[in-house]
């Protein structure tokens, strides 16, 4: 669960700050020796919690439709180009308010990898497969789920919407057929 990751992170920060505070109290300086080299390092005493707010108004329909179990792309009514990730502007035709189309049917795995060394914010997951699959020329990057013996370049996949338990939010994945 992401809550476990967050709590563990907070505990880690708390512990580090406790050590830092007691060091500063003892020596008058937030400086500690790097374990490997002994090089003195100044430990930053200022916090910065980075959590961005990303505007999604122009593609809000994507998220709305996802709650109905559909993965949508946009399509330019003039030139017919399909955009995934969805965007509401066609830079070629310079028009906005594009059409929405569902990505349906079977796609084909173009390439994939298994992530073993994970970013800390994904540390609550076991190794996961990320792949790119093509749905009639429209490519989608997502996790690939399903029986591992079927996993190969060229394997058939379907798009599925799921509520990811760990974070509790709705997203999409590729499922081996």
């Amino acid at each position: 669960m992401i809550s476990d990751v967050r709590e563990a992170k907070q505990r880690e920060i708390k512990e580090a700050l406790k050590q830092l505070d007691s060091l500063t109290k003892m020596t008058g300086l937030p400086i500690y020796p790097e374990p490997k080299t002994g090089n003195p390092l100044w430990s930053d005493v200022r916090e910065l919690d980075l959590r961005y707010q990303i505007p999604v108004k122009r593609i809000y329909k994507f998220f709305e439709k996802m709650t109905e179990g559909k993965v949508m792309a946009t399509k330019c009514p003039k030139c017919g180009q399909v955009f995934f990730p969805p965007q509401d502007d066609c830079p070629s035709c310079r028009i906005s308010n594009l059409d929405w189309v569902e990505i349906q049917g079977e796609g084909e795995v173009i390439t994939y990898t298994v992530i073993s060394v994970k970013p800390p914010s994904f540390s609550h997951y076991s190794d996961y497969v990320v792949g790119i699959a093509s749905f009639k020329g429209t490519s989608v990057t997502a996790w690939i789920d399903g029986p591992k013996d079927k996993l190969r370049v060229g394997a058939k996949v379907r798009l599925e919407v799921e509520r990811r338990e760990e974070e509790g939010y709705i997203t999409y994945k590729l499922v081996l057929v």
Binding site: T111, T113, V114, I115, K118, P120, Y125, V130, A142
Partner: protein
Amino acid sequence: MTNVAIIGTGHSRFGSRTDVNLQELAWEAVKQALEEANVEQKDIKYFSVGNVGTWSAEPLPAVVIGEYCNLVPSGTMRVEAACASGSAALRDAYMAVKSGEVDIAMAVGVEQMHQSPNPTVVEMIGRAGNYFWEFENFGLTFPGYYALYATAYMNKYGMREEDLGKIAIKAHHYGSLNPYAHFQKEITMEEYLKSRQVAWPLKLLDSSPITDGSAAVVLASEEVAMKYTDSPVWIEAQGVGSGTANLSRRTDFTSIDAARVAADQAYKRANIDRDSPSKMIDVADVHDCFTIAEVIAYEDLKFAKRGEGVILAREDQTYVGGKIPVNVDGGLKAKGHPIGATGVSMAVSLTRQLLYRAPNKAMQAEIRNGRALAHNVGGTGHYAYVTLFSTRRPGL
């Protein structure tokens, strides 16, 4: 437009450099470059700083470095092109001289990644694809992006694990000879094959390390270069390209479009035979952030046909004495990849190669054409810079 020459080079030791801070690290390279060029700070009329940052504390590094190195009040800016930031900084300073605006400029590349713990760095680099559609939901890592290339390449061309191992072994061999390199020890195929998976099919020993380091070059116009040196190395041509941020918006995962675009421009500008460019180039530094990237670079640069880059590796054709020596300074893989410094480091390595000044005899390529090539890719193919360096003045 004037010709532009490199008249001085500087390079710090690469590695975990917690013995200095960012500006002190930059000064190591800047000082060396100033001394080599025999110029004073007041002669440098413009300087650019390649630095990606975020893992290091200074958010405005160009001015912090300018102040420390006494380069103010000359104009400057921090230049960002992801892992190609160093080449972008070189381009910025090169353009300032080439346009005739200034006579002498400096390009500095510096990165101090060890100001943050490794897990934080893994988190930050993973975000350097397309943030929302690749990282936020699917936790891609940087090895992961290049693993997507490796899987596609293996599937299409039958490349084996051992082929990538040969690239890693070569990098470590030259790293062991380079006093500036992060990794200074040889590895065996057995060690390579046993090294742990990072992002299948890529292993730890396929990957460049998290590194601190700096590099700098002094550039001068043709009019003043000869006043400072008898052995200028000219920037003969440069090509630049860009790609999509989203990997899924690309069609081919066995080649990097941006790099092909950049190579094509550079070759055209320098009248290089695009059928067999390696015959006209003595030595190259290519962007081997991961071993697979070096194989793809061979092909994007037309050192090998599509699908045959792996043969160059199998036959050891990119060692000194081979068809085209590549990354004989250890490359990103063993010399290290301090993101913003890498492009400038390539320029330094290659300038010294062309002047027969490789830091170790066993790393010195034979210079017949007087020409070297740097290939620097940013992101997962977001940016690409291909630069040609020559001992012969362009236009002669």
